[in-house]
Symmetry: C3
Subunit: 354 residues, 3 copies
């Protein structure tokens, strides 16, 4: 258990008021958040799923955030709200506030004379800010970030550390970019000249909306002529590839190790689980959900949950089944021939017809 | 639309001459490239696929690059060539030339006294160039690149930003390395000593040929004894893993999120789509094409297109089909038993035999 | 062939003694390791698999490491040991020792006044070491590494180059972190507030045990409340995602491009091949082996080898088989109907029953 060092205690009643929950039970001082199992009398914990009821009943927490249906199982002060997980997210920020670095430019940073950096922004050690860059109010560039010529970073955004923003990209407000992310690499586009590949200049850019989050070592390529566009509220995890001219709609979330090929458009409020591959030039509608390792090769305009892949099984069974898969088309034809054969005989009474 | 700022206008006739196209219609000044939809009277656009004919007919472009078969649909000056996409690639470079940085070593770079840097090379801010490195004419190291001891970078190559080239690697001429790429990490090789893993020293290197491109956050490991070798003209996208002792033949291209395990040899002129996994110690011939998410577990010496994977379907259907896949071997045996059973009865006239 | 430059010659008898092998044949000086094919009279080579017998018989090596069963095929001095690959790993280190950098802090590094750096540690060019960091004896930070506030790096660990260790992480002894690795990014956890995602503060940390290795551009996220824990001896390759609150048991090894989703627990001595995806909240036991591209969606408490996926086949065959897979459930029902139909007829003598 390594919850961050608290900087203060807050009363349960204050927290309840700040997160919009109802206090049931005695008020008490709280100084940290913790799991039900790891909590002590100064801890605030929460219950997000029914399976944790036994742990709720025995928690040593000073207070817990619960839904009203679980209130009876709380052995301590309760903060009652219909979305305990959301309440917890808000309470955790109150009890464990991030300490923002001081405003100003670190002496070791390399900043172009014509970069426009708001005085309230913080530019960390060994950052590079090139010509014509605009850095908005309250922006934090952690150590080792590079913002290349002509890019803009909106108010309140945070580049955690070692983020690379290439030329002429536009980053919205309150955006969070994690270490190793590369925003605005030239897209992977080539024309063939005989056997050789000739690079297509990538003249578009990347535009990230407000409240976007981009994970560690994720890459988002710039567009060829038009831009690659990530709408407000999109959350993208680690090691994800977003190719040139992709667009992703508001509040869509993508888990790690996924990739989207060029020019595909993803709608709003989609969820894309881990290691999903989405081919290029597709249209994915709003409220589409792809499960893990899904292989998306055509457009899905309609909302719904879509899946693919073969879950693991013992290797010996898998080998036998895969061998059969190689002849599945033939197997289906054999079944058809059997059906045809039996069709020509008198059907036994009661047998279903296909 | 964010096509880069033009630095000059060029006449359509000059562009036609420079890209080897035939001018049909009036000459006109052109200052940028654009999509058919986004073009204005100073824009040069192009038509690469028949489906865009309606947009070609209504484009406001000053000129378009088209194949002769589409000339009749062009409402403006036409640059006629049989490969419009290639023509466009070349014209875009003419209208939007990259501005190379000034030669010389940035004051913030850390350069070993015995590094051999050509005077025409440019070493960007906070680069690190270690002992014995050789940097050729016209090389650009963008901000934050690291070139470790004993490596060589050939003439005209460009390390865009924050590239890591480990010790003793050899980078050819006109190579393009994107941010976050790691060239020459020690390969992942271990011997077992009881339950513990003992690292095998990786004494080989990485050699990249001429005109190679390596994407953002891609990793290419050094060989154990021999080298990992990437031949001339190979293009490798983002987030790709190339393990130790792999070799890749000329002009092969790989899309993002793919991986090649150790000691596999890939031929020339192959295309490897996104998220493909290729096992180790395989031999893949020339002109082999793997489609997206292909799972390559054996050698393919012969040219051809190979595929695998199950494309997505509605999750409810998928669950039912996957449950059946787990028993596919059994299903095939059941079909065989049915066939045997019917075989022993008189076959109806005309029914095909398996 | 680019085996590293040897710095000395060692006699075959000395090497045999140091790696615990028996010398058979004349003693001789050895100055490098090499493949059987690439060896010369000062080279030490080895034979790890029977298929190389023809190369063993014709090698020009001065000496070879072999198992006793292959001794008869060695044309030169032999170092006999039952695990030649392990012997080779140890001999290679003797003949090609890494030259450690000098102790001390490079003048270009940015080090917080209150960082506690052992005098025997080496801090490379343009490193950043933040407040409260503890760097143990013999630690090497290669060029461009970032160690953020409150983290600890154990004795003898090596951060090769451009590694990012986020706040309050704990790195064990003799750990090896490769370029681009990101340790301790805030985990990807959100609560929903209507259509918007609200970030869950990630208050846990990452703890890496002793002798852990983490590959290039791999990402290991910090836990939400508890820590993400990687046990002693775990080896993790490139471009791998380890999500928050994952734990991995001793000596487990993972190949490149794999990912493990949040809160999954992996046992000891497992091997996870390349591009494997493991869903969240699962329990994987000890000695479990997943083959390449396996899709793991449920817990596997028992030791064994598990597989999934469809290996590639010619694209035309694949298309036909995939089309049938979409109707596999229906096909199975059709087979059942055929069985029912035949069941009601008199079974031919000798036909097997299902």
């Amino acid at each position: 258990m390594a919850a961050g060092k608290p900087i203060l205690a807050i009363s349960a009643s204050n927290i309840a008021a700040l997160i919009g929950a109802e206090l049931v039970g005695d008020d008490c001082p709280l100084s940290r958040v913790a799991t039900l199992a790891g909590a002590d009398s100064e801890s605030l914990s929460f219950m997000a799923a029914r399976q944790y009821t036994p742990m709720l009943r025995t928690t040593a927490a000073g207070a817990v955030i619960v839904a009203s249906k679980d209130l009876a199982d709380a052995p301590c002060t309760a903060l009652v709200t219909e979305n305990p997980y959301l309440g917890f997210a808000r309470a955790a920020v109150l009890l464990h506030p991030r300490q923002a670095p001081a405003a100003g430019v670190d002496a070791s940073a390399v900043v172009a004379a014509d970069a426009d950096i708001d005085p309230s922004a913080s530019i960390g050690a060994l950052c590079i800010v090139e010509s014509g860059v605009v850095i908005g109010p309250g922006v934090e560039l952690g150590p080792g970030c590079i913002v290349r010529a002509g890019s803009e970073i909106g108010a309140g955004s945070r580049l955690v550390a070692r983020v690379t923003v290439c030329e002429r990209c536009s980053i919205g407000e309150r955006v969070l970019l994690h270490p190793g992310a590369v925003i605005g690499r030239d897209g992977f586009g080539f024309a063939k000249d005989g056997e050789q590949w000739v690079r297509i200049p990538q003249l578009g850019s990347v535009r990230l909306g407000n409240d976007v989050e981009i994970g560690a070592n994720t890459t988002i390529d710039r567009g060829a002529l038009d831009d690659t566009v990530i709408a407000d509220g999109v959350k993208i995890d680690n090691l994800i590839q977003i190719a040139h001219n992709v667009s992703i709609g508001r509040n869509t979330a993508m888990a790690a190790c996924s990739g989207i090929a060029g020019s595909t458009r993803i709608g709003q409020n989609c969820t894309i689980a881990g290691a999903v591959g989405i081919a290029g030039h597709l249209e994915i509608g709003d409220d589409v959900h792809f499960t893990g390792m899904a292989m998306v090769t055509r457009s899905f305009p309609d909302a719904g949950s879509y899946s693919s892949g073969i879950p693991v099984m013992p290797s010996t069974e898998w080998r036998r089944n895969v061998a059969r898969f190689r002849h599945l088309d033939e197997l289906a034809k054999r079944v058809k021939r059997l059906e045809d054969k039996l069709e020509q005989e008198p059907a036994p009474s009661g047998a279903p017809k296909d």
